[in-house]
Assembly symmetry: C2
Homo-oligomer: 455 residues x 2
C-alpha cells in the first residue's frame, strides 16, 4: 500500500493522488442500486496520457486492480470500486482537442462532459447525437465505456455509432491506437468497437475521434393520449412500419404520468393509460406530426396534441425528462431496468411488467424509448423494508427474464456492470461467454482492469 | 486427402462436394491482381448450418485449412485458395429468411446476393443501403467478410453499420450467436462487429440480422465540371462543411472520363480535369442540387448540369458505374487501390497519385467516393510486360504510403486479404498487430480459418 502510493507519486502531481479515506470513499460507487462497492486504496486524477500510462505501469508492476471512472452516473455498478483498488478517474482529462466541420469529427479527451461537447459542436453547426439523461454530468469516456444511448437513438443510434477511433492505454501501460479519422476504414479487426461498452475492462480510453452530423432543424413534438399501453404500442409499430423517422418516440404509463404531475404540477392527463411523445427534426416537422397524429388516432388515441412551436415542444419533453426524478419520490429507492425488445414485442413487454408489479405488490413506473423497443421499468420501493427490497430485486430479475423470452436483450444502453452479470451469462450463453473471456484475457492477462465487472 | 473427402461426404450430399481439379481450380481466386492462389483439395457447397458445422468439425479433426468464399468478387485476395485447403463456398445458402418492416430488419443466409436482397426489401418500402459495384454478383456473406461499401456510403455508411447480429460456425464447429435483433443492445463485447471485415478468419457467418431503412425518395443527380481536381476537392469540402447530406458524391478525373467515352461514347467533356457527381434523395432534391451547384460554381466549376429527372440522373450515374470496366481496357491489366483519407486531404492525395503516375510512367485513372475521402486509383498496365508490371506494383504501394502519410487508411472498403498484408502491419503498428493476432488466436487456436490472410 505505501509502496503503491509512493510509486504513483513518482509520475503524478501531488494533487492528483488522493488517499484520505473520507475523500476516496466518495469515489466508491456509481448510481446503481443493489451493487456492492469496496473501499479504494487510492484515487488518481491524471491530466495526461503519460500519467495514465504511469498509473497502469504501476498497477501492473504491483498487481493492483484498477477501476476507471468518469462522472459515476452509470446505472449498473460498472464504476464501483473494489477493496484496495486504484480508482482511475478521467474527469480532469477534459479537453476538446479538435472540432473539424469538413471531416465532421471531434477529437476529445475522455473527461469531456457530454453536454459541453454537444454545445461546442452546435456552435459550429454540428451535432453530437448521443444524449443520455445524465448528459449534463456524464463524460464521453463513460459514454464509451457503457455504450450510452438516450432519447435520440430512434433516429440517430447509440454512442457506438459515433466512435471512429480511439487512443487506449493498455493494462501494461502501452499505447494502442485503433480505428481512424476517415469516413470509412476496414483495416483489420474493429478493435474500436470492442472498447465501446467494454466498461473499461480492455483498456483505458484516453482519446476518442467522434463522428458528428450536421445540426438538424429544431424538433417539433406531438403528444398523444391512449386508453391502453397496447394501443400506444400499436401506434409505435405503425409509425415505424410506415417509414417515418421520428427524432424521438417515447412512452410513459399512467404511474409515471401521476408521479410527474405530483412533482411538477404539469397537468398531464391522469386518466390516460399511456402518453406517447413523438418528435420530428425534418424539414417539415408539422407535416410529419400530422401524419403521425393520424396514425395515433387510427390506433385508438383519444387525444392528439401537436406542439405549435419550440416552447410548447420543450414543455412536453420536460415531462419525459422529469420521469425518473418523479418516480424516485414514490418510494425511498428505485431500480431502473433497461430491457430492449423487438418493437413488435413492446406491448407484451409492457403488459408483462405490469403483471410483475401486481405479483410483487410493487409500484413499477414504465418509461420507454418506445421507438427503439427500449423499456426502462422503474421499480419503486422502500429501501428500509427488507421484504420489499427483496421483492424489488426479484421483480427486476423477472423483468429481464421476460425481455429475454421476448427475443430482447437485458440491456439496451445502461450496460452490465455488477448488476446484470448473471444475466449477461444467460443472454450470451456458454460459447459466447467463453469467447468474451478469451478476448478479455488477450487485453488484460493479469485481470487488473475493472475485475469482477461484466463476467 | 482421401480421408478428408470421405469424411466430408459423411455429412454432405454428393453434389455438395467437388473434387474434379478442373472444377475446383475455378474456385481458386477472387478478382484481386498480384495475389497468389493455390489449388484447393476440395470445394464444398453446403446448404444448411449443420452441413457447415460438419465441414468445420472435419477440418478441425484433420487439421485442414478452410477458405470461405462468397461470389469471389473481392479485390484483395481474401477469398484466394491455398494449396490443399477446403474451399467453403456459401453461395447455396441463399435464402432470405425474414423481412420485418416494423423492426426494420432482414434475416438472411450468407449466400444471398446483395441486389436480390436490395430488391426484395424495396418491394416492402425498405432500403438496404450498402451497394458495392459488384452488387449484382456479390453476396451478403462476402460483404460482411470484407466490410464492403459502395456509392451510398457518404450518406448511409458501410456494411458494418447494418449488421446487428450474427450466427457463426466456429473453427471447431460450435455455433455462436452474437448481437441482437433489437434496435439497441450493449450486452457484453461487440463480437458482431469483430466479424465484419474479418475476412472469414474468426468464424463462418451462416446467418445475419441486418438493419434496414425506410426507402428514401428517388435521388436526383448533378454533374459539375472543374478545371482542376483541386477545385473539385475544394467543392467537396465546402459541400460537407456546409452540412449538406448528399446520397452520393463521386469524382472522376480526365483519364477516367476519356476511358468511359472510349468505351461508351457518352460524350463526357474531355477537356475537363475533374467531373463531380452529387446526388440527393431528400424531400426536395432539386433545391439541394441548386445549393450544391452554387457551391461548385464558387469553387471554380466551369459547368454545372443538374439532371431534370430520374432518367437523366441514371445516365450520369452510368458514366461512374462504367469507370472501372472502361479503365480495364486501357492496359491488359489493372490494380484498383482503395486508400481513404480525411476529406481535407483529398486534393493532396489525388495530386500525389498523379505525380506517382508520372514517376512510374503509368496510366492511373482516378475514381473517388469523394464525399468519403475514399479514392480508387486504378493502375492500368500491360500484364505481359514484366517491367511495367513491377512499376505498377511499386506505384500501388507508393499510393498506400501516401495515404498513410496523409492520415488515411490503406483500405476504405475493399479489405486487406493477401494484397495489403504488409501494409496492414504498417497501419496498425506492432501493438495493434499483436492484439489482433491475440484475438484471432482466441477464435481459431489451430489457425485453420483462412490462414495467411490479413496478417
Amino acid at each position: 500500500m505505501r509502496e503503491l502510493i509512493e510509486r504513483l507519486h513518482e509520475g503524478l502531481p501531488t494533487a492528483a493522488v488522493l488517499t484520505d479515506p473520507d475523500v476516496t470513499a466518495s469515489y466508491a460507487h456509481d448510481m446503481a442500486s443493489f451493487s456492492e462497492a469496496g473501499a479504494p486504496a487510492v484515487v488518481v486524477l491524471p491530466r495526461t496520457v503519460e500519467q495514465v500510462q504511469h498509473v497502469m505501469r504501476t498497477a501492473t508492476a504491483l498487481r493492483v486492480p484498477v477501476v476507471p471512472q468518469g462522472a459515476r452516473t452509470g446505472l449498473s455498478g460498472a464504476a464501483n470500486a473494489s477493496d484496495g483498488c486504484i480508482v482511475l478517474s478521467l474527469v480532469r482529462m477534459d479537453r476538446i482537442l479538435e472540432i473539424d466541420p469538413v471531416d465532421r469529427i471531434a477529437v476529445v479527451e475522455p473527461g469531456v462532459v457530454n453536454a459541453v461537447l454537444s454545445r461546442a459542436v452546435a456552435e459550429q453547426g454540428l451535432y453530437y447525437p448521443p444524449d443520455p439523461s445524465s448528459w449534463e454530468q456524464c463524460t464521453i469516456g463513460g459514454n464509451i465505456g457503457t455504450g450510452a444511448g438516450g432519447l435520440c437513438c430512434v433516429k440517430y443510434g447509440v454512442t457506438a455509432e459515433y466512435v471512429l477511433g480511439l487512443e487506449v492505454v493498455l493494462a501494461d501501460g502501452r499505447l494502442l491506437n485503433t480505428g481512424r479519422r476517415t469516413a470509412k476504414g476496414v483495416a483489420g479487426y474493429d478493435l474500436t468497437r470492442l472498447f465501446v461498452g467494454a466498461e473499461g475492462t480492455l483498456g483505458i480510453v484516453v482519446k476518442a475521434v467522434l463522428a458528428l452530423r450536421p445540426a438538424p432543424p429544431r424538433q417539433l413534438v406531438l403528444a398523444a393520449e391512449f386508453p391502453s399501453t397496447a394501443a400506444a404500442c400499436a401506434a409505435v409499430c405503425e409509425i415505424m412500419a410506415r417509414g417515418h423517422a421520428p427524432s424521438l418516440l417515447e412512452l410513459m404509463d399512467t404511474t409515471t404520468i401521476r408521479a410527474v404531475n405530483d412533482l411538477a404540477q404539469m397537468g398531464l392527463p391522469e386518466t390516460t393509460e399511456a402518453l406517447l411523445l413523438a418528435a420530428f427534426d425534418t424539414p417539415d416537422p408539422a407535416a410529419d406530426l400530422a401524419a403521425v397524429g393520424e396514425l395515433c388516432t387510427a390506433a385508438g388515441a383519444t387525444q392528439v396534441v401537436p406542439a405549435d412551436d419550440a416552447a410548447e415542444s420543450e414543455m412536453l419533453l420536460q415531462a419525459r425528462r422529469l420521469a425518473l426524478v418523479a418516480l424516485e419520490r414514490v418510494g425511498t429507492a428505485t431500480m431502473i431496468d433497461d430491457v430492449c425488445v423487438p418493437r413488435a414485442q413492446l406491448a407484451p413487454m409492457i403488459e408483462g411488467v405490469a403483471a410483475i408489479a401486481r405479483k410483487y405488490e410493487l409500484t413499477i413506473g414504465m418509461c420507454a424509448h418506445a421507438g427503439d423497443g427500449n423499456t426502462h421499468p422503474i421499480v419503486c420501493f422502500d429501501g428500509a423494508d427488507a421484504d420489499e427490497s427483496a421483492r424489488a430485486r426479484e421483480s427486476f430479475d423477472e423483468i429481464m427474464a421476460l425481455g429475454l423470452s421476448l427475443g430482447g436483450t437485458i440491456t439496451g444502453e445502461h450496460g452490465v456492470g455488477l448488476l446484470k452479470k448473471e444475466w449477461l451469462a444467460r443472454e450470451l450463453g456458454p460459447v459466447g461467454v467463453e469467447l468474451q473471456r478469451g478476448v478479455r484475457q488477450v487485453f488484460d492477462p493479469l485481470n487488473l482492469l475493472n475485475p469482477g465487472k461484466l463476467f
